[in-house]
């Protein structure tokens, strides 16, 4: 397999995630979408790292996984609180910052 195949996969995953971010109204789904995007980037990093024989790309991917995990932990925590308070996790209902 060539590097391009991996990068194309990465791009497709990223676009799926991006469309999810734009389209989805459920905040939980939004989290999934961002996870997809982050992992799309990880695929790209790991692939380039492998093909160039440079380990730093893979190490970076590990960092991203760690950061994403903590982000999701905090995000889900907040989301639960929000759900307990309002009974909804619809994105359109969260509009307190209206200008």
């Amino acid at each position: 397999m060539t590097l391009n195949a991996y990068l194309i996969l990465s791009t497709i995953l990223f676009c799926i995630g991006l469309i999810g971010v734009i389209k989805r109204k459920n905040v939980l789904m939004l989290f999934f979408s961002t996870e997809i995007m982050l992992n799309a980037v990880n695929v790209g990093l790991a692939a380039i790292s492998k093909f160039h024989g440079d380990l730093s790309g893979q190490i970076f991917a590990f960092f991203i996984i760690a950061v994403a995990a903590s982000e999701v932990a905090i995000g889900l925590g907040l989301l639960i609180l929000w759900y307990k308070r309002t009974g909804s996790i619809n994105l359109d209902d969260i509009a307190k910052m209206r200008g």
Binding site: M97, R98, G99
Partner: protein
Amino acid sequence: MEKYIYIALFAPLVGSLVAALFSTQPKTVFTGWFTSFMLAVSMFASLNLLHYVYTSETTLHVNLFDWIVIGNLNIPFGFVVDQVSVVMMSVVTVVSTMVHIHSIGYMEHDKGFNRYFSYLSAFVFSMLVLVMSDNFAVLFIGWEGVGVCSWLLIGFWYHKESATWAANEAFIMNRIGDLGLLLGMFLIYWNIGSLQYDIVFAQLGGLDNSLLVWIGCLLFLGAMGKSAQFPLHTWLADAMEGPTPVSALIHAATMVTAGVYLVVRSNELYTLIPEVGYAIAALGAFVAIFAASMALVNNDMKRIIAYSTLSQLGYMFVAAGLGAYWVALFHLATHAFFKSVLFLGAGNVMHAMDDELDIRKMGGLHKKMKATSIIMTVASLALAGIFPLAGFFSKDKILEAAFNADAILLWGVLWVTAGLTAFYSFRLVMKIFFGEQNYSNEEFHPHEAKNFVIAAMIPLAVLAVVAGWFEHSFVEFVTKTLPTWEASNIAHSTAWILILITSAVAIGGIAVAVFKYRNGGFSKDWENTSIYKLLSNQYYIPKFYEVFISRPYYAVSVWIWKVIEIKLIDASIDGLAHFVNKLGVKARPIQTGNLSSSLRLMVFGLILGLVFALVLSVL
């Protein structure tokens, strides 16, 4: 010796700053005595310098620091103590010290006591900077400094409309003169490349005559503003709104003579352009008689003395214009003594009469204020030029100078003015101290001023008597810097005749005043004549200024305000602001608070940025 220069210069500043610390507090007598003490220190340093320069015949020169050094322009903060400046320093500090002490008594009950002394000492500092400077730039700093202090002190009672008005008038009138001085300085710098007196005066000979005339005229314009010469004279009489010791110090003895000092200092320049000098002399003679005529009919005690100051400044300019520079300086010094003491005496009278200024409501005060009365009479005699008082020697020399220059017309004008001077001085003395009492004993309780107030006036009164006796040593002293001048054209006997007829007209003036006002003065009909009205309305000049300058200027200002300011400048700036504001209103819906649409916008921005970067990289 250098330390004395610094002491003389900075002692008043120290006094001023210390007094300023207490400026918002209620009266503390300490500030008055402290500033007076600092002035006394400055006076002793100045007199010490006078003695040193006199005995050693050297001039001192110090450079405090380099002030402006840009390319070829080098202006140091330098001070020179030569024969001319040391005379000025001595006169300024002696008069200031006495005025400070007098003020302690005069301002006794004033709320702004501490503030007053801070201003007064600051004025003395500025005046010393002016006279001690060794270049035009530092002179200009002092020049503006005395202007500001004058403004502060004329408007000292700022709650009075008339005082603030007079202060502004003085300041604005002086701006006209200052513009002239500045332009003159620019011309000097452009053509010579320096503002140091010694360099400038050494190179003046190489310049074009027309250029010299321009410089001379512009510098004299500055002098006209400060010394209140026609047509910039109206501010001086109005400046009498300030406290009386201020009038004594600033508007009689020191600041107004700065113009004369400038002309005397630039004597090398004016010697090269005698035609400008003659014009100065002619203007001086005109102002002398013009101001004296207004003093004849005025009933405001301080204004009479102010017009007399104006008239004497005219005399000084005649002497300076005709090349008799030391005579101008001599008259400046003697005039400072007797005029300041006259004003201080007027201050005592005002205090005794509850700030009454109208001499028609006084009279017979001699019995109640003997010391003031005697001192003011002596000062008036000196002003009138009676032998052997100071005014006799200096004024006589000016008349001689006019006669010597074959300017018979000028001489005639000055001769008549000498008579008028004697008359109005004694009209003032008679109306205040002698003659019948024109106030009721129930309403006023005149009393003599405190002893230390009188004591402060005595040195000045003594100087007003004896200053003239030192004429010969004075001449010998100052002509080391100034050009010599002698009445070379007139025979010895003619000179004596001149002295006699001048004294005769002065004594005649006094006699008429004494005789007339002892017998009740002039009749009421005199006040209805047109000439009386012309004089008492100051030749309608303030009116003329108001109608032809102030009001049109005001109208133009209003027009500019309404049309240019509001419709053009404000409107365009406001328009810009409104545009931005509207843009904000239009852009506000972006902030819906909806995360989903925000995210969409974010993605859109990201893509836009990427496309932009792509396009840029392709290009």
